[in-house]
Symmetry: C2
Subunit: 318 residues, 2 copies
């Protein structure tokens, strides 16, 4: 007799991390359903069932998660910068439907919710680098507050209704299937512009330090978070544990490409913390996870993918 | 030349703490406007301008706070227990309009927002007793999460727009003008039922320990939080710093009244943490505040007020 394998739903399965996660789960032979407003790369999700819908549509979400064991919650309807511009809308579009999701998961007896939180924003300006999960959480952007608030509701549903959960506070993920739009994904943006010979706008003087983690390693961490008891820990930083300044990122890409990037420097944004690097000891110890791809190897893979795909942004977003 | 005295608006000025605060501010000669759905004791707010309105009505809130310097935010539309029953509604009715309030305060150049948070729920099950402001905040009820979330948005508006704020994490306040309804205010409920010779339901076995603080001291702390720089601190626990079990509260009231209370014991609720006592060192040092009324003296004053007013609940809530 063989134990039945769990079935997965990836909310936000059509996005950057979601596409990578769905591909990795499907390649491992799991039954995977993806839900979202759209797939960035519809042809690259073979064997993945697709459910089109809006996260604020409770009926669509219910239909998507029905009869599944593990729910990955990767949806955030607002970009970090945009969240600050309409903070109430950020709450309406992310916190409120996340509560509705938890209510559904409770009713449908879902086994676990794995939530993608933000290692770069929930801590705010960290007092300790690398920052452990136990550090003070004082976000300086609305995006970080709504991520943190959803974490709190996950803990509440666990407390009140024994709905199991994991939170992965992911830092700056990069890699294939990231799109270079909407002011996110600086690595994708840099590589795409470089390959197209276009200039790129960078906010600040390039001294900000971020923790870049390759998306294969992120998908690996999500898979590990779905199963197992993890020594009772539920919240994990997922990053490389090492910082790279934006200038270092630019230099590394220039070295790999053998050409200079055209940068247009812009004023610093108030939501940018100077340094964000997370401690990943807990993930190493309890999740049995370490990032396997070096920064340079990840950049090289991303460049190769970009060369094949040409980062054809216009085609993706007509 | 005399510096102009600041003008105050008390959102929730018709409620228990609000009534006490308005009375104290007006008695000190300040210009005070109170805003809320209703006044529990309309005859007891002489010299206080009253603005009737709902907190979710942005126009009404804007009219109330216009041309005022300091805004006290005491409104929470949901009781702790009810918040868990409809968590999304708790967010809609409290977090979302609080964001709208901050947006208004920013537009109207309000000098400071003083927010009443919850010392008994934002920490969850505290790992340290008495609990300092620096402790982990892991609420185990929706009420605590929305209070904490509003705290985070206050910090965000300070960071983004330099809107000054103070947060008072108040424990179990008791005293005159508290009403013994809606499962809140156990001291008022006990005294009211005792004076009326009625039985009272108590959840749990009476072993839960709470930090009871007399409402005059709370109003005093709010007044102090409105002015001054407080050594750069913005978040303060306001309590007695000492714990009393519910059984001790019952015994103390029985001693003061010289009669036995009729208790109907009910099962424990999952939102009740076993012990909640806050450390008040920061308020002592930076707010120049200490609670002046002993627990017994506070109970005595509350009983005297109750005897005069007869806690006529039916008349208050027809």
């Amino acid at each position: 007799m063989v134990a039945q394998r769990p079935s997965f739903v990836v909310l936000g399965g059509g996005g950057f991390i979601g596409t990578n996660l769905c591909r990795q789960l499907a390649a491992s032979g799991y039954r995977v359903r993806a839900f979202g407003r759209r797939r960035l790369f519809p042809d690259d999700l073979p064997g993945v069932e697709w459910c089109q819908g809006d996260f604020t549509d409770a009926g669509a979400v219910a239909a998507a998660i029905q009869s599944s064991d593990i729910i990955f919650h990767l949806i955030h309807a607002t970009m970090p910068q945009a969240a600050n511009l309409d903070i109430a809308a950020d709450v309406q579009n992310n916190v409120v439907p996340s509560i509705a999701l938890l209510e559904l998961c409770r009713e449908l007896a879902v086994k676990r919710v794995v939530f993608v939180s933000s290692g770069g924003t929930v801590y705010g300006c960290p007092q300790q680098i690398p920052t452990p999960e136990t550090a003070t959480t004082q976000p300086i952007c609305a995006y970080g507050i709504s991520k943190l608030t959803i974490e709190k509701y996950l803990a509440l549903y666990q407390h009140l209704y024994s709905l199991d959960y994991r939170v992965l506070r992911i830092t700056n993920a990069f890699g294939p299937f990231q799109i270079a739009l909407k002011n996110q994904g600086v690595v994708a943006a840099l590589i795409a512009r470089a390959l197209n010979g276009e200039p790129i706008e960078i906010w600040g003087d390039g001294s900000v330090v971020r923790d870049f983690v390759f998306v294969d390693d992120v998908a690996d961490a999500l898979g590990k978070a779905a199963l197992g008891d993890h020594g009772g820990q539920r919240i994990f930083n997922i990053g490389s544990g090492r910082g790279h300044s934006l200038r270092e990122v630019i230099a590394a890409i220039e070295t790999l490409l053998g050409r200079r990037l055209k940068i247009e420097w812009k004023p610093r944004r108030s939501i940018d913390v100077p340094v964000s690097v997370v401690a990943i000891d807990r993930a190493r110890e309890c999740l049995d996870w370490v990032p396997k791809t070096s920064f340079e190897a990840g950049l090289q893979k991303t460049i190769e993918w970009g060369r094949q795909r040409r980062f054809d942004i216009e085609r993706l977003f007509p």
